[in-house]
Symmetry: C2
Subunit: 192 residues, 2 copies
Amino acid sequence: MYEIFQKYLDEKTELTQAESERIQSFAIIKKLRKRQYLLQEGDVWKYDAFITQGCVRTYTVDEKGGEHVNNFSIENWWTGDRESLMMQQPSRFNIDAIEDTELVLFTHENFELLCKEIPAFNNMVNAILQRSFIAAQNRIQASLTLTAEEKYLNFINKYPGFASRIPQAMIASYLGMTPETLSRIRKQTAKK
Amino acid sequence: MYEIFQKYLDEKTELTQAESERIQSFAIIKKLRKRQYLLQEGDVWKYDAFITQGCVRTYTVDEKGGEHVNNFSIENWWTGDRESLMMQQPSRFNIDAIEDTELVLFTHENFELLCKEIPAFNNMVNAILQRSFIAAQNRIQASLTLTAEEKYLNFINKYPGFASRIPQAMIASYLGMTPETLSRIRKQTAKK
DNA sequence: TCAAACTCTTGATCTAGATCAAGTTTTTAC
DNA sequence: GTAAAAACTTGATCTAGATCAAGAGTTTGA
């Protein structure tokens, strides 16, 4: 499934044949079964990871055992724990597969090497980071200003297709509400 | 007050004399009085802005006129609206000064030029963005998992010094609660 | 220097969404 | 194919925090 990542690169950057090959030479293909962990709380995250197929969630577990979903990532997105990676510290997050998933991994060492060697690659990485940051800001904004119902409508509007492949309870958690509340909201909005 | 920005650069990067001068040649010094806008909703943001002195808030206004504070930025931090800047679209945010404030501005054109010309500068900018993203992720995490009281304690722990220079009502808004609730929490926690 | 305008506190009441508890439906795994 | 486990719904009740209201500081600016 490396072709999917290659296609992504081709869309986002202009690379020479040699550069493309250099990138591919570092790529590690990884497959996850549904429920399988990519990262477990307490481990140090060491990769840059691109999803070519499937869906993954990033979440924390509180003292009472409750799970809080921070993020979903699907094909053509990146995943991982930047904080753990940058600070070389144990992660507070778990990442596991919601569906059978395929990824392209780079060790961060190799990834940084690619960023240094290939300016176009570095620029692409920075552009992605910009967009991730903007998305995070918008999410904070939404959490401060929207009601539960508005958060849900905003979510399905922004990420159509997610609702059908991700269990409702996880979406509820991502939106900061209980599964019961989301169920009632869905019933409400279906009527309209 | 450019020296403060120069000091920041010296701490974060290794620049030649010529590079430092090149950067300074693009710098625009801007002063804001308390309450003065740096950016108003509907305008397109065109700068990269570093605060050398003072404090600024980024906020939105909802249909009912309620203000929602997204961010505070103080000296040695950056501010602005990345989304408006990147997409060249009217901003949904207002930014105004909580105290008399001094900034160093770069037009985004010049800023990008500096990034291209000076790799060390580009690297610094990317490192800042990384940290901003991590901070945003942590804020999302906190908003999903913490109670009102925990959010406040987390805030004063993370940003000691902010509480004394920013009006309580704005902090309450930033934390996603009403001023009344924050006032009661402070009374509560003072007792302990 | 003093009135107007903010800022913060405190109390009473209300409500969106949480929690608790049972079903019902769907998926999974042998 | 079917039993067990997940996933979802629905109802009853509860509660953290919101809203409304009024008073007590504190700042501000002419």
